[in-house]
């Protein structure tokens, strides 16, 4: 009885909650601003659909009852068509569909573009594991069993399980992942962020999210080393069927306060240097600098200075933006596009420079370019402390995120 009273007592509060519908449909509200927009869109379509459905079904049932068959009576005559009615019911849905299309496209663009200064990580997918490298080079050392369920543990069933990595990210800070796969197609889906993106073996795609700041309702972690801190876990699923253990290919994205994120990176350590440092080493080891300079002077091949994210002329007359996928092509299939003024004499590095190493080289090339949004921001910034051209997240930018994302469409484009 008490439980009943409590429920009835709480009902108005429960109904007043803005995201009650979100909870019914999604289990919880979205944890990114763009995800919130997507939920709003879903609710709009849902309520249009409910009204349309109820209207149609009530008509259908009422007609069925009102005009049920009576013996020996023919159906009374009625018009076989009505042009005005038919035009109306063609145009009205079309208007609604147009609204859905435009609003959906707007929300999608907001979801696809990362704000300037995002924490830029490299992500590699393989059967059946995700691995992520932080911009400063660390790899997580924490893993958890996320699928298989508690029930399996109770029954002490033994089955092969792939452990899922736990990745730490600071709350409120935008994150951008440069993603590729080493085998088949995977798909990066974090339901809490309402966004997914396929991950391909032959190109880069990107995924961005700006997690909402932690609130008082977030869970509390008692850590011996770092003390107590609040955190929020988001499950990552693989959403493109990839073989036997497709359903175990998960990871946890753990949102923590900025200082905990930094402390965790400290703990993870980085014996191999930042992604950019490693990229430089890979370039040195593979002899890239015998043809390419980094100081702007011309050599056998074009210089890498200011190459990334700028447009260049090619021998076939086209102009191409040197983005992630163009650099990938130029290193793996050098003859596909040859820069105007240079001969086609580079050999393919496919099989020599791995997909993972290529990601490092791109991170390195990015530090050489003034054309990245981060570098442009730094160049115009008044703040003398702002980091210049490093392609890393400015420490001071852990902002509200919410408003930023919608306005930053000129940010790093998604590979898509």
């Amino acid at each position: 009885m008490n439980a009943m009273n409590a429920l009835i007592g709480n009902l108005p509060a429960l109904l007043a909650t803005a995201n009650l519908q979100d909870r019914l449909w999604f289990g919880d509200g979205a944890f990114t601003p763009a995800g919130g927009q997507s939920d709003w869109m879903f609710q709009f379509i849902w309520w249009c659909s409910v009204v349309a459905f109820l209207g149609l079904m009530i008509l259908m049932l009422w007609f069925s009852f009102r005009y049920r068959r009576r013996k020996d009576k023919a159906a009374p005559a009625s018009p076989h068509h009505n042009t005005i009615l038919e035009i109306t019911w063609t145009i009205v849905p079309t208007i609604f569909f147009a609204v859905m299309f435009f609003e959906g496209f707007r929300g999608y663009i907001n979801m696809s573009y990362a704000p300037v200064g995002a924490i830029e990580c490299n992500l590699t997918a393989r059967q059946w594991q995700w691995s992520l490298e932080y911009p400063s080079g660390q790899i997580t050392t924490e893993f958890a069993t996320t699928t298989g369920g508690a029930r399996a543990a109770e029954n002490e069933q033994t089955f092969s399980t792939s452990e899922s990595p736990i990745w730490y990210f600071p709350d409120g800070q935008p994150v951008l992942l440069r993603m590729t796969s080493v085998d088949v197609i995977h798909s990066f889906w974090v339901p809490d962020f309402r966004m997914k993106q396929d991950v391909f073996p032959n190109r880069y795609t990107s995924y961005t999210f700006t997690p909402e700041p932690l609130t008082e309702s977030a869970r509390l972690m008692e850590d011996e080393e770092l003390g107590a801190y609040r955190y929020r876990d988001h499950l990552l699923f693989c959403a493109e069927y990839c073989g036997d253990d497709h359903s175990e290919m998960a990871a946890i994205i753990r949102i923590v306060p900025q200082e905990i994120y930094e402390a965790k990176l400290e703990i993870f350590g980085s014996p191999r240097g930042t992604l950019a440092e490693r990229g430089k080493l890979v370039a040195q080891q593979n002899g890239c600098f015998s043809c390419h300079t980094v100081d702007g002077s011309s050599n056998t091949g074009p210089t890498w200075q200011n190459l990334y994210n700028t447009e260049h002329q090619y021998t076939d007359g086209t102009t191409v933006l040197a983005d992630d996928n163009h650099i990938r092509e130029s290193i793996y299939v050098p003859g596909a596009k040859v820069r105007a003024g240079f001969a086609n004499q580079m050999v393919s590095y496919q099989g020599t420079i791995s997909t993972e190493q290529l990601g490092w080289v791109i991170a390195y090339m990015k530090t050489l370019s003034d054309a990245t949004p981060e570098a442009e921001l730094a160049a115009t910034a008044v703040d003398p402390d702002a980091e210049g051209g490093e392609g890393e997240a400015g420490e001071g930018e852990a902002g509200e995120g919410a408003g930023e994302q919608a306005e930053s469409m000129e940010g790093t484009p998604s590979g898509g």
Partner: protein
């Protein structure tokens, strides 16, 4: 005054003509087998197709039950390697797996076979090859299809192709998903020959589809009875005609695609292999360039069936005949332009935007059709027999299926819902709630015509309610599950989804009960059904002029058409009285 009369101006004679019904035995069992195996009669070929697709529907359904059974629990109970204590489903299903197959592997095979059987072998041939074959010539007053031998060839090609696919399934099956996405399907080694066999089967069955489509296009153009203009055709004929056009134009694409996949596997062409400069997404474009139009190969005939059943059992001319007919053609045309909406998460923003826009275009004519059907009920004389219940059930389920497609066409919401259980629920509401329900409506509607015997209403209605409630129980919860974050094709899942999976599994058992009830009513009707006369529903389309079951050559006299197919609401047809054509819920008086 009915002007839909036979040439001689007299009502068709019961059992008239010297040929006898097409079901008449040739004397001995062997003679009958030889006769059916070599028949060029569209009715017999239609019946053989019907039998085949129902058997395959049963097999695909068993796979669905296996899937739902496995998903009862989040842990992988399906194969417990230690095998102690619990009887795991894995042990029961061992025959499906080869050496060293894991639990996930068994689930993935069941999931793939369910999709492959249901799509390629059941629902694509589905209504056109069975009911279409049987009724298209009858409804336009023809003796047969334009190319009867091609029709028989199509049946054998289909049989031959499905043998490849079934052989592949019986020796272990494949685990690629029915979509066969590269590079997984080209680099997975475990199932090499089974994969080649399955893809070859799909390749071969494509030809059957093309032959049938070609046949129907020509039949519709050339063999209409005297007096039947294009706008005197029943809407089922329009729907089958639009379907046939898609079959002829789209199916070659899947032929080319499967051929490339076979070459890729056998000879390592590298078309889709990134290590050789190929592109895996290219396969997705090829695949969906066929597999999206094929969605309309599945659903357009269902629209056709519903247009027939709703007019006949509500005794009303369909509201807006021309807009329903043109909507079929419009959908057929636009269906070729929306394939990439299956790939919003695998392509650039501009492509996604264009295909999202085009997708909404296909929604308009579909919505218009639903409005037309519901308006047809207005001022009708509606009887609640099994075909009508299935028709109303179709309107209910298909409307849900259509409306829940809107968040999938909208880009920002699709980013979340794509490849989740929401999509699974959506296409089951369309394919199952649409096509299968329409097939059941059509089967009950035309059963007396095909066999000359009436099914029993009460158990058939029970079957309807079990199927209808089971379908909603199984699939509605999956919308919520998908929005909560449950991905497709998962053998295992986090605990929080378990209660929803349990609800869904219970629904699948209700569906089983419903289909077994229908199996019983159909067998009962064949053995003990009451004779029903040529026109038990008082239908106005031409097939009701033929005997039940029809004469070997369909009509004893060539029919002449003097008005449209749905002249129900002018007055009571002269020979339609309560005595002669009793209301279906009354006992038969003859």
């Amino acid at each position: 005054m009915s002007s839909l009369d036979s040439h001689a101006g007299s009502a068709p004679q019961h059992g008239g003509g010297h040929h006898g019904s097409y079901l008449t035995s040739k004397g001995s069992l062997w003679a009958d087998i030889a006769n059916w195996a070599t028949t060029v009669d569209h009715k017999k070929i239609g019946l053989m197709y019907l039998t085949a697709i129902l058997v395959l529907f049963f097999m695909g359904g068993v796979m669905a039950l296996v899937i739902r059974f496995e998903l009862l629990e989040p842990a992988r109970v399906i194969a417990n390697p230690s095998g102690e204590g619990t009887i795991t489903t894995g042990q029961r299903l061992d025959f499906l797996a080869g050496e060293g197959a894991t639990a996930n592997n068994i689930y993935n095979r069941a999931m793939t076979l369910h999709g492959a059987i249901m799509v390629f072998m059941f629902i694509v041939p589905g209504i056109p090859a069975s009911l279409g074959n049987f009724f298209l010539p009858l409804m336009i007053g023809a003796k047969d299809v334009a190319f009867p031998r091609l029709n028989l060839a199509s049946w054998y090609v289909y049989l031959f192709g499905s043998l490849f696919a079934l052989a592949s399934a019986l020796v272990g099956g494949i685990d690629t998903g029915w979509t066969l996405y590269t590079p997984y399907s080209t680099i997975t080694d475990a199932d090499h020959w089974r994969l080649v066999a399955m893809i070859t089967g799909v390749f071969i069955m494509g030809f059957a589809s093309i032959m049938t489509g070609l046949n129907f296009v020509v039949t519709t153009h050339k063999l209409r009875a005297p007096g039947m203009g294009w706008f005197d055709m029943p809407l089922f004929v329009w729907a089958i005609y639009a379907t046939a056009i898609i079959q002829v134009l789209a199916t070659p694409v899947i032929g080319i695609t499967t051929l490339m996949l076979i070459f890729e596997r056998l000879f390592h062409f590298g078309l889709f292999d990134p290590r050789m400069g190929g592109d895996p997404v290219l396969f997705q474009h090829f695949f969906w360039f066929y597999s999206h139009p094929v969605v309309y190969i599945m659903i357009l005939p269902a629209f056709g069936v519903i247009s027939e059943t709703i007019t006949c059992h509500a005794r009303k001319n369909v509201f807006g005949y021309k807009s329903v007919a043109f909507a079929s053609l419009g959908i057929a045309a636009v269906s070729f332009l929306v394939w990439a909406h299956h790939m919003f998460t695998s392509q650039g923003e501009l492509t996604a935007a264009i295909f999202s826009f085009l997708t909404f275009f296909v929604a308009v004519p579909t919505a218009v059709k639903v409005f037309n059907w519901i308006s047809t009920l207005y001022k009708g004389s509606i009887v609640f027999n099994t075909p009508m219940l299935y028709t109303l059930g179709f309107l209910f389920l298909f409307t849900i299926g259509g409306l829940t497609g809107l968040p999938l066409a909208t880009l920002s919401t699709d980013m979340h819902l794509h490849d989740s259980y929401y999509v699974v629920a959506h296409f089951h509401y369309v394919m199952f709630g649409g096509t299968v329900i329409a097939l059941l409506a059509g089967l009950h509607h035309w059963w007396p015509k095909m066999f000359g015997k009436m099914y029993a209403e009460t158990p058939a209605k029970l079957g309807f309610w079990l199927v209808f409630l089971g379908l909603n129980t199984t699939f509605f919860i999956q919308f919520v599950m998908g929005a909560h974050g449950m991905p497709r094709r998962y053998a295992s899942y986090p605990d929080e989804y378990q209660w929803m999976h349990m609800v869904s599994t219970v629904g699948s058992w209700m569906l089983l009960a419903g289909f077994l009830t229908h199996l019983f009513t159909f067998i009962h009707a064949l053995l003990q059904g009451k004779p029903c006369g040529p026109n038990p529903w008082g239908g106005m389309t031409l097939e009701w002029l033929a005997d039940s079951p029809p004469d070997e050559h369909n009509f004893t006299h060539e029919p002449i058409v003097k008005h449209g197919p749905y002249a129900y609401d002018t007055e009571i047809p002269p020979h339609w009285t309560a005595d002669e054509y009793p209301l279906p819920d009354e006992p038969h008086k003859h």
